[in-house]
């Protein structure tokens, strides 16, 4: 566990401290919030893809479920935000439990089935027939609980929790068992690893993470539509960030978000098309020349990263 302590002190504490302090130094709070959201989502992808090898294309489904779970409790029950946050997390968790059978699928089949599942939830929520329940296509307005500073601090707490989970997975028998399942489920099960239980726990953990941050996202921006919180682009971004940094590590997804999302916002000044063009070329160049992410490169140079 000594490694785990080192990871806590040298990765978790500085990252969380930085995001706790930055709002006082840097004035673009929305950008900081988005950074936190993508850090959490990329780590959530890391939990399920990095450790078990399942790539959920529809990961944003849990994010949206969390956002709507939160909003509906606030709108219909007038619940206080922190209670509604729990509801958002529960909504994502329940969706995760319903979708557990998808874990029977492999590789690209799983990726696409999870995407389809996320689309199903989004379509149901935005259906005009359900306007009385979910506001249908007209979107959610939560002006009553609008409190961006409070929401931001809660988001940072969620980031800390998420990093804690990843540090645990990186340094525990359970995390090792998950990686064994990823490499070869049959051998893992022969070695006494409970394959079904392991991957189900990882799946629900990642659903919970996305649900929590989705709920906070709804709270922070307070006006949104189903397309906003079920945007496939969000899944893809989180996956790209996590893969680019290097999965099954702690700092991989963090550096992926820092570098790619940093560049994304750095070149965001130009007209959207040129910006999209530059960003696309950049992603292609990075994948072509650094196919295994940034971290293995550092490892090859003899720098060991957690």
């Amino acid at each position: 566990m000594r490694n785990g302590l080192r990871h806590l002190i040298f990765v978790l504490v500085p990252v969380v401290a930085a995001f706790a302090v930055l709002p006082w130094v840097y004035s673009n709070h929305l950008l900081l919030f988005n950074f936190v959201v993508f850090l959490v989502l990329a780590q959530g992808i890391n939990v399920i893809y990095g450790f078990t090898g399942y790539l959920p294309f529809g990961y944003v489904g849990f994010f949206g479920a969390g956002a709507y779970g939160f909003s509906l409790l606030v709108l219909r029950m007038h619940a206080p935000p922190l209670l509604a946050l729990v509801a958002g997390a529960l909504a994502a968790l329940i969706l995760g439990i319903i979708l557990t059978p998808l874990l029977r699928l492999e590789g690209a089949y799983f990726a696409i089935a999870s995407l389809a599942a996320s689309e199903v939830v989004a379509q149901i929520i935005s259906n005009p027939n359900l306007t009385n329940v979910t506001q249908g296509p007209y979107g959610i307005r939560l002006s009553g609980v609008y409190a961006p500073r409070f929401a931001y601090s809660v988001a940072v707490v969620i980031l800390a929790l998420t990093l804690l989970i990843v540090v645990y997975l990186r340094n525990s028998r359970f995390g090792l068992a998950l990686q064994a399942i990823r490499e070869n489920p049959v051998s893992a099960s022969m070695a006494g690893v409970d394959v079904v239980r392991g991957r189900t726990i990882a799946w629900l953990l990642s659903a919970l993470i996305a649900g929590l941050i989705g709920a906070v996202y709804a709270w922070y921006i307070s006006v949104f539509y189903a397309e906003t919180v079920f945007d496939l682009g969000m899944s893809i971004f989180a996956i790209v960030f996590a893969l680019f940094g290097g999965t099954a590590t702690i700092v991989g997804p963090i550096s992926g978000v820092a570098i790619l999302y940093g560049i994304y916002n750095g070149i965001g000044i130009a007209t959207p098309q040129y910006f999209q063009l530059i960003y696309g070329i950049l992603i292609m160049a990075l994948v072509s020349f650094l196919p295994n992410g940034v971290l293995p490169l550092l490892k090859r140079w003899g720098i060991n990263v957690p």
Binding site: L55, E106, I124, L243, L277, Y279, I283
Partner: protein, 291 residues
């Protein structure tokens, strides 16, 4: 009503099969996922639009032009992108990122060139007389698009099952390493398959203004997702299973649009999930694994 939905569903099914076919060919041969598939379709559509408005070429005659042009584009693009990818640890997942980047580039270039508005070609250039089948009336453009899709599918069948290079292509699909060791030039075979895949997408693009109503630079992502649903239903890596998947998708979509139009967008995804849960590797999948 029922007859209308079924026949329209079969026509759209043929078209959806054509959309998915190329994507599945690339996955089967190279084990990479071309997330820019829908964007090549969009490019094909704009090529047809350009040929029609500036040169007065009927879209039917654009099909062979577009097909050859995109095969020629695909060949060098393969050597530029794919071999590098296959040297990595997890090519299947990494290809998602690489082609996501490519899709962004193509969409950006198309937006710079064409703006964000929708373009369409009048449907009567494919014939103005509607067709009557079983007392139901269908626009001629749908019939012609369906038939053109069927012809393309048949040509792909001939290529895969009746030519020597198609035989080699299927060998690479089933066992890449063994194909390599029996002296098949895997890269040449793959490059050809890649070119044909882009060409099929582009031909589907030529028909897109008639089947989807219009084309626009940002349509790529939605098309890619649809083609994914189609090929996963059929079975990944089995190009002809795609036809079955396309039919199921088309008929399901049309039935839903006829009887419960506000829920129509939901159904294809539900069908996809149900099929996968019953048969985890698609309708024609060989292995079924229980874990």
């Amino acid at each position: 009503m029922l007859e209308y939905a079924l026949i329209a569903g079969l026509l759209f099914g043929l078209y959806f099969s054509l959309i998915g076919l190329g994507l599945n060919l690339v996955f089967g041969v190279m084990r990479v996922v071309n997330l820019a598939h829908g964007d090549f379709l969009m490019l094909g559509g704009f090529a047809a639009y350009w040929l029609f408005t500036l040169r007065g070429v009927n879209p039917i005659f654009s099909i062979p032009i577009v097909f050859s042009a995109f095969t020629l584009i695909g060949w060098p693009l393969y050597y530029l992108l794919v071999p590098r990818l296959q040297a990595s640890k997890d090519p299947e997942m990494l290809s998602l990122i690489l082609f996501f980047g490519l899709s962004q580039v193509i969409e950006a270039c198309a937006t710079i060139g064409f703006g964000t508005s929708e373009y369409s070609i009048p449907g009567d250039v494919l014939g103005s007389e509607p067709w009557h089948i079983l007392n139901q009336t269908f626009p001629a453009s749908w019939m012609v698009s369906g038939i053109a899709s069927a012809v393309c599918i048949a040509l792909v069948y001939l290529y895969l099952y009746r030519t020597r290079i198609g035989y080699a292509t299927r060998a690479v699909m089933s066992q890449r390493d063994e194909a390599l060791s029996t002296g098949i030039n895997v890269h040449a075979v793959s490059a050809l398959a890649f070119g044909i895949s882009l060409a099929l997408a582009a031909v589907a693009g030529v028909l897109a203004p008639f089947m989807f109503g219009s084309i626009l630079p940002a349509m790529g992502v939605a098309v890619t997702i649809t083609s994914f649903a189609v090929i996963v239903m059929g079975s990944l890596g089995q190009p002809l299973g795609t036809v079955l998947g396309g039919m199921v998708y088309g008929v399901a979509l049309m039935l839903m649009q006829t009887y419960a139009s506000s829920w129509a967008n939901l159904l294809p995804y539900l069908v996809l999930i149900l099929i996968l849960l019953v048969r985890p590797t698609g309708l024609l999948g060989k292995r079924v694994r229980h874990a």
